[in-house]
């Protein structure tokens, strides 16, 4: 760490203690950003849900993209198509694609595809609020859950020995 480098472009007043004017400016800034870009109301809840998963050694996959589907993009307002979407996560070794669609009456269907890792993925755990479902992964890396509730969910992918290959952050179904 450098010590207090004298800066020739230091604006006047930079070394002054904060006064009431500064506090007012910062309070206004917090107010403006809070208005323009509020913290998502459920973000802390989603983070708490995510960290409650047991597989603490598994690599955390990164969100690559979310796509609200051709229907939503084209402005189609049919109830199923408008809420269908694709979420893609990745790690260095794997790419996980999740397609979430409606199955009516507030229930959801999830279809997934895991690529990479030389076909080592054997089992997928779908964790929801209050329940967890394990499904097998096909030889082509595909899996599906026909009927799941709306709400927070998290996926973990395991190899044939049960070792966790990756976990996702919480996403909303």
């Amino acid at each position: 760490m450098t010590t207090q480098d004298p800066r020739h472009d230091e604006p006047s007043g930079a070394g002054d203690p904060l006064d009431t004017g500064d506090r007012r400016v910062l309070a206004d800034l917090a107010r403006i950003h809070g208005h323009l870009d509020p913290v998502p109301a459920d973000l802390a809840a989603r983070a708490r849900f995510a960290v409650a998963m047991a597989e603490v050694e598994a690599e955390v996959a990164r969100l690559v993209s979310t796509d609200h589907g051709a229907g939503a993009r084209a402005g189609v307002r049919s109830s199923g198509a408008a809420t269908a979407r694709t979420i893609t996560f990745s790690t260095d070794d794997h790419t996980l694609t999740l397609m979430i669609g409606g199955s009516g009456h507030g229930r959801r269907r999830l279809d997934g595809w895991i690529a990479g890792g030389a076909g080592s993925a054997a089992l997928v755990g779908l964790r929801m609020v209050g329940s967890t479902v394990d499904v097998e992964v096909s030889d082509e890396g595909r899996f599906g859950v026909d009927d799941m509730p709306e709400g927070m969910a998290q996926v973990s992918v395991h190899d044939a020995d049960g070792g966790a290959l990756l976990v996702t952050p919480t996403f909303l179904v």
């Binding site: 760490m1 930079a14 009431t20 500064d22 950003h33 802390a44 955390v60 990164r62 952050p169």
Partner: protein, 207 residues
């Protein structure tokens, strides 16, 4: 003296380390808003920012034992989220070219204090619908460098005694803000003092 965010986070984290399960949950509640503003100030869209904030928490679960000083947990989280946001942004827009076609922006976050950020520009109407004071201030804020805008955004959601550690975790040189006004805020103050629409007399007993 009221407890700052760093104080409250330390208490929660110590409870977690002592085996109190609710300690971590409370920690998430206390620090998530700050981390959101860190991620967004680094130029991520809302979805990537949500992802990066969650990844920060998942990283802490994995690394909690390695943090020797519980008081440093906020700094650790801010640093982790800032660096992960940098990586996410680079992946999102992996190659940026200048006018001559040369690749720019390929710098390792560990080697640089800060990455020039494109603070997400909100809709022009969003501030226009706010009060006069907000509009005047926002016009001047947008004249600041992206680096200053990002710093002031995060500092605005921090408690004053925490400014030094949080600004350091943001990659600012030590002593550049700390207990003093700092360069970014000083520039903003100077601009406001030349603006007739900004009335410092309004302060009265504000602070």
């Amino acid at each position: 003296m009221s407890a700052t965010l760093t104080d409250r986070a330390e208490v929660c984290f110590r409870r977690h380390l002592a085996g109190d399960r609710s300690g971590f949950d409370d920690l998430v509640e206390v620090v998530t808003p700050l981390l959101w503003h860190v991620a967004r100030s680094q130029g991520l869209d809302r979805q990537l920012a949500e992802d990066v904030v969650q990844r920060g928490w998942l990283a802490l679960v994995r690394k909690a034992e390695s943090i020797n000083e519980p008081r440093a947990v906020v700094s650790w989280l801010v640093t982790t989220v800032r660096r992960d946001a940098w990586r996410a942004r680079r992946r999102d827009r992996p190659v940026r070219s200048d006018d001559l076609g040369a690749t720019i922006g390929q710098v390792d976050p560990a080697d640089t204090d800060w990455v020039a950020t494109a603070t997400p520009t909100p809709g022009p109407d969003a501030v226009a619908e706010m009060d006069e004071e907000a509009r005047v201030l926002w016009a001047h804020v947008q004249e600041l460098s992206e680096r200053c805008q990002a710093l002031l955004r995060v500092i605005a959601f921090s408690d004053r005694p925490d400014y030094a550690t949080i600004s350091e975790a943001l990659g600012m040189p030590v002593g550049s803000i700390g207990p003093t006004r700092g360069r970014c805020l000083a520039k903003l103050r100077a601009a406001l003092e030349h603006d007739d629409q900004w009335d410092f007399e309004l302060l009265g007993g504000a602070g």
